[in-house]
Amino acid sequence: MTGPQTGRLSFKLASTMDSVAEVEAAAEKLTQAAGLDEDESFRVVMAAREAAVNAVLHGNGYDPNKKISASFENNGKSLVITIADEGEGLDPAKIPDPLAPENLLRGTGRGIFLIRSFLDEVHFRQLNPGTELTLVKHLTPVGSNDVSQDTDTK
């Protein structure tokens, strides 16, 4: 990170759980530098971790030949975290609602829901190959930010 207020950091990582820990640590630095309180920081960091787990596990399937890309930015108005994999792609419309009674006792399927619940904006973009998730946490009141993204808001 280039400074406590604004800056962008990006890197490519192997498809491993160590990379998930790196994403988590970078997200924590980002939120702390931005001055988020403990509860807000927890939610952003957890969302980043869930996105990284999805990329490593469901996207790349731990394939050592596939990387995940991660970037962390404070643009002064928002924190923007992007996580991309090189997998077969994810259709967010096909993700079951984990709050539906028939899904409430399922052992899986809550990661994307938590990401959407904890962030102000979540965008999916299909890559070729792969999926990119952009997670946005507003630092200013909703409506005054100018971060625009590609597809599908929550």
């Binding site: 787990v53 006792l105 938590l114 904890f118």
Partner: protein, 114 residues
């Protein structure tokens, strides 16, 4: 910090004191193994003390749900004790707070099994 689990018995209830993180990988697997071990031994009353669990992810939530359903299928009960603010937050968002019996007081939790 990985998950550590210690087990104690009180008034016919098996209490698992959990400390650390319940996340994909080690934490989730440890919890799954511990619950399966207890249920295979015929334990019917299991109380998970989450007072020192400072982090849970979607995989950890899945393990709690699996513990709950596995126990129910064996006519056993898994209940939760002492949720930290972060764990409570995640359980509420996912509506799992409505699924589990949750207690803030150990004596009250133990008496609930009777």
């Amino acid at each position: 910090m990985a998950l550590s689990i210690s087990t104690r018995q009180l008034d016919g209830v098996t209490i698992l004191d959990l400390s650390g993180r319940i996340t994909l990988g080690e934490g989730s697997v440890q919890l799954r193994d511990a619950i399966r071990d207890l249920i295979s031994k015929g334990e019917k009353h299991i109380l998970l003390n989450l007072g020192d669990v400072n982090y849970i992810d979607s995989s950890g939530l899945g393990e709690l749900v699996s513990a709950f359903t596995t126990a129910k299928n064996q006519n056993a009960d898994v209940k939760l004790l002492n949720l930290t603010k972060k764990v409570k937050d995640v359980l509420q968002v996912t509506k799992l707070y409505t699924v589990f019996d949750i207690y803030d007081d150990e004596a009250h939790a133990i008496s609930s099994f009777k």
